[in-house]
């Protein structure tokens, strides 16, 4: 059933490409769809994984990579922290099952973020646990980079600042 999911996702992206002329529109649409999935998926994830509350951003990032990705996509990206402030992380995927059948992006769609749905999912899920974040693709194998890298930037919220005073 993994193949059916990958083929469905491919058909979705191909259809969006037919509906929208500009790559940015397709990317935005995928992100919005992902967001809708994420806000609902988080409950399923929390119920199935029964994890405890994460106490730091890096724990959250690790949780996403090692538990969530493993559970839903079957791969485990590696996490690395890319800022001194400790709120920017990147997940590096060397194997992305969603692009199994896609050899390369068509020439007229050079700036399409094929897996932008994933960014939306992560963003939506984090927002439901009160951790607003920005999620984007930093590198993409389909665009010629060596690996696929998703960057998560946790945005500060008011409660956080209260914590830091202690």
């Amino acid at each position: 059933s993994g193949e059916l999911f990958v083929l469905t996702y491919g058909a979705l992206v191909a259809q969006l490409c037919k509906d929208y002329e500009k790559d940015e529109d397709v990317n935005t649409c995928l992100d919005r769809m992902g967001y809708g999935i994420g806000v609902r998926l988080i409950d399923d994830f929390l119920a199935r994984s029964a994890v405890k509350k994460c106490r730091s951003y890096s724990e959250t990032a690790n949780m996403i990579a090692q538990v969530a990705f493993k559970m839903y996509l079957g791969v485990t990206p590696t996490v690395s922290c890319s800022s001194a402030a400790g709120n920017e992380f990147s997940l590096i995927l060397d194997k992305n099952p969603l692009v199994d059948f896609v050899e390369e992006l068509p020439a007229e769609r050079a700036s399409l973020c094929y897996c932008n749905l994933l960014c939306g999912v992560i963003r939506g899920a984090l927002e439901m646990v009160h951790l607003p974040a920005e999620v984007t693709f930093l590198q993409d194998r389909l665009k010629g980079d060596a690996v696929t890298e998703i960057g998560i930037t946790f945005l500060r919220k008011a409660e956080d600042r209260k914590h830091r005073r202690n």
Binding site: L7, G10, V13, A14, F101, V102
Partner: protein
């Protein structure tokens, strides 16, 4: 010398054609096109037989003066045709079968690409590489 071509129904126009070496390409285009008739004949002769792997491979279609033409048809009626030199006697039946199988597998991969529309000409680099390496092995 080796030529391979893939054609799809219903108009039977070629989706992909590649020959090694590349001179005389037009003659091979002609040979392959005429062999399509033989393929159609064989398919209709099979009638309502169950299609299994063996019957996908049509075997030697017909030998011409110096070439042998082999055919293979998928369940979706996509035809693969291969023309080889008669002087290349080292090529045996099961080698041809395995070449067709590889072609079929690569073709399935192309079909799974969401950006490929069935009926388009095949422009995939991976497919070209596979065909090239296969042909280099033979020649």
């Amino acid at each position: 010398v080796l030529v391979s071509m893939i054609c799809s129904p219903p108009q039977n126009y070629p989706l992909y054609i590649r020959s090694v070496p590349t001179e005389n390409e037009l003659k091979f285009h002609y040979t392959v096109h005429t062999s399509l008739d033989v393929v159609d004949e064989k398919i209709s002769a099979m009638g309502k037989a169950l299609v299994d792997q063996r019957e996908l491979y049509l075997g030697l279609l017909y030998p011409t003066e110096d070439y042998k033409v082999y055919g293979y048809v998928t369940n979706s009626k996509v035809k693969f045709v291969m023309v080889v030199d008669s002087s290349n006697t080292a090529l045996r039946d099961n080698e041809i079968r395995s070449m067709f199988r590889k072609l079929h597998n690569s073709y399935t991969d192309i079909m799974c690409n969401p950006f490929y529309n069935p009926g388009d000409r095949i422009h995939s680099r991976a497919f070209d590489n596979m065909v090239n390496s296969m042909m280099m092995q033979v020649c």
